[in-house]
């Protein structure tokens, strides 16, 4: 009798402790959001919607509006995603459908390696190797050949929107590739075998069986990559030039939301300045929460459906 009661208590205590630890995930998420909202209240109250529509950022005058940072984040991330998606899907297809097993496995682990490199090292390489190369070679070429377009006007600074797009592309490709690879590997082989048995070439098999099945999963992977790109801080801060301006030209320096936080938060002296930076953080949080929510929904629905099929 005595042993069974202690057994019961032991189990109850164990359950309670593990439950508290598991709940901490929800608590962290709630506290993060609550902190960000409460800390940005002074700025939310003072500037209202003007905060996201205006472009005047002046710590001395105490007037803050964030449009250039929003613009920089959105443009750099979207361009990076546009460049990264075909490369990632191509590589994931190469790994899963094309390469011999060993080659595919080696390629996949090299991609994982790329994903593990810390952002600050990409930034170091970006600022000391890539931007000088852009300034001396790529940008003069673009100005000469495509300078008639508004996107390639101006002087070659090296640090620029273009540099941010390139570094972001290099950084998110491994993430999108490895998730797309997981998605593609979950495509039932019966689907592919059916296409091959009907006499399809390998590309036709990919186009008719693999891609349609993987579509929403690949979309999830791309959206997840977008979330990463928008939140990426160190590498972008180091190469984008940190100038709050809205310019069509990819050659001019720009600024992003995480970069302005990284550069100014530790030195923000007035309450309003740090509240304004907190509000930028809050916008970033809401956007990335939404993006991750969407991406996980897509990825979860896909992998679950397939697991159900197999079982």
């Amino acid at each position: 009798m005595n042993t069974t009661t202690t057994k019961k208590y032991g189990d109850r205590i164990y359950r309670a402790i593990t439950l508290i630890f598991a709940l901490s995930i929800l608590v962290i998420l709630l506290i993060m959001t609550a902190e960000m909202v409460s800390e940005s209240l002074p700025s939310l109250r003072k500037f209202g919607w003007g905060f996201v529509t205006g472009s005047d950022w002046d710590a001395v005058q105490g007037s803050f509006a964030s449009l250039p940072y929003l613009y920089g984040s959105v443009v750099s991330s979207i361009l990076a995603i546009l460049l990264a998606t075909p490369l990632s899907v191509g590589t994931a297809l190469f790994i899963t459908e094309l390469a011999p097993h060993r080659v595919g496995a080696v390629t996949a682990s090299l991609v994982e390696l790329l994903a593990a490199i810390p952002s600050v090292i990409y930034g170091l390489w970006g600022i000391l190797v890539m931007t000088p190369w852009l300034q001396s070679t790529v940008e003069p070429f673009l100005i000469k050949r495509l300078g008639f377009l508004p996107f390639f006007k101006g002087a070659p600074y090296g640090v620029s929107m273009l540099a941010a797009v390139f570094i972001l592309m290099i950084m998110i490709v491994p993430i999108i590739t490895s998730i797309t690879k997981e998605v593609l590997m979950a495509v039932p082989s019966s689907q592919k075998e059916a296409a091959i048995a009907l006499g399809a070439t390998r590309w036709e098999m990919i186009r008719m069986s693999v891609l349609p099945y993987g579509r929403s999963g690949i979309l999830g992977a791309v959206i997840l990559g977008l979330g990463r790109a928008i939140g990426e801080t160190m590498a972008v801060t180091m190469v984008i030039g940190n100038t709050p301006q809205i310019s069509l030209s990819l050659l001019s320096p720009a600024y992003t939301m995480p970069s302005v936080i990284a550069n100014e938060f530790a030195e923000a002296t007035t309450k309003l300045h740090s509240a304004a930076l907190m509000e930028i953080g809050l916008i970033l949080l809401v956007v990335t929460l939404f993006i991750n929510f969407l991406a996980r929904m897509l990825l979860w629905s896909v992998t679950r459906k397939w697991k159900g099929d197999v079982a």
């Binding site: 593990t18 993060m32 800390e39 790329l114 600022i127 000391l128 390998r202 995480p258």
Partner: protein, 280 residues
């Protein structure tokens, strides 16, 4: 299917194959280039002084990143003490008791949480610890890192615990061993190598984190004597030196990058090795 000639179909197959191959080369090319530069620029500055000295003012030779390496080790250690138990035992809840909506919500939130930019984690740690303690500190830095570790460890541990055969647990329970002892002595123990793999990967991930330390640990040019003082960290030093205008500091930054990369790949190799030895 539209009836195109065999030749056209074969040609498009060839083009698609070539494109996929090209994409792969383009993706792997930066890896080769970045590694080439890290090794070329870093090797010459990684010497004993790098591991024993603190940074020197630009122009003076013989500086190192000893305080950054030590600071990183201390903060990662403290973050692990806080984050690992929470992640591991949170995962135990999900595998032992978690079948309902709550468990699904926790899993989902963990996935979403791991996608939140780490600079926001830094801001939260700032307002929760730096402001009340009235100063940047190693404690705040560790706290920020532990917040990043929890969801990663939780999800990887859960994957490992799920792979433990149900028969093992059932055998233990059938012998009258209480669930909590079964969980610790049987389930966790047989998943141990997998859990360690996940832990090593989580450590490798936070070892390179810079953004959450910017306004928590802040960085320090000298040795920190207390945990309530600003503390240096290797990635922070790499950042500060990379954006400085000095050649000497650039050299140190490359050396730091080489050390950080070697450390991280060492960790992930160790993780793989641990994970593999389980199956043999």
């Amino acid at each position: 299917m539209n009836l195109r000639s065999i030749a056209a179909r074969k040609a498009s197959n060839l083009v698609a194959t070539a494109l996929m191959g090209t994409a792969t080369v383009l993706v792997l090319l930066p890896l080769v280039i970045i590694f080439y530069h890290i090794i070329k620029m870093g090797v010459s500055s990684v010497n004993p002084a790098f591991f024993t000295n603190i940074p020197q003012p630009p122009g003076e030779a013989g500086g190192g990143m000893a305080n950054g390496i030590a600071g990183s080790a201390i903060m990662i250690g403290m973050a692990s003490l806080l984050g690992l138990p929470v992640g591991i035992f949170g995962a135990v809840y999900l595998t032992e008791y978690g079948n309902g909506k709550l468990a699904t919500a926790i899993r989902f939130c963990a996935d979403v949480l791991s996608g939140i930019p780490s600079i926001i984690t830094g801001m939260v740690a700032y307002s929760m610890l730096v402001v009340p303690l009235k100063g940047f500190s190693a404690l705040a830095g560790s706290f920020a890192l532990s917040l990043i570790m929890v969801p990663i460890v939780l999800r990887t541990t859960e994957e490992q615990l799920k792979m433990v055969p149900a028969t093992l647990r059932e055998a233990s329970l059938a012998l009258g061993v209480p669930l909590w002892r079964t969980s610790i002595k049987v389930t966790l123990r047989s998943a141990m190598t997998g859990v360690i793999t996940g832990v090593l990967l989580a450590i490798a991930r936070v070892a390179g984190e810079t953004a959450p330390l910017l306004f928590t640990a802040l960085g320090n040019h000298f040795w920190s004597k207390k945990l309530t003082e600003p503390m240096a960290a290797l990635p922070l030093q790499i950042f500060n030196f990379a954006i400085s205008p000095y050649e000497d500091w650039h050299r140190l930054a490359w050396a730091g990058a080489l050390v950080l990369v070697v450390l991280m790949f060492g960790l992930s190799l160790a993780a793989r090795w641990v994970g593999r030895s389980k199956h043999s």
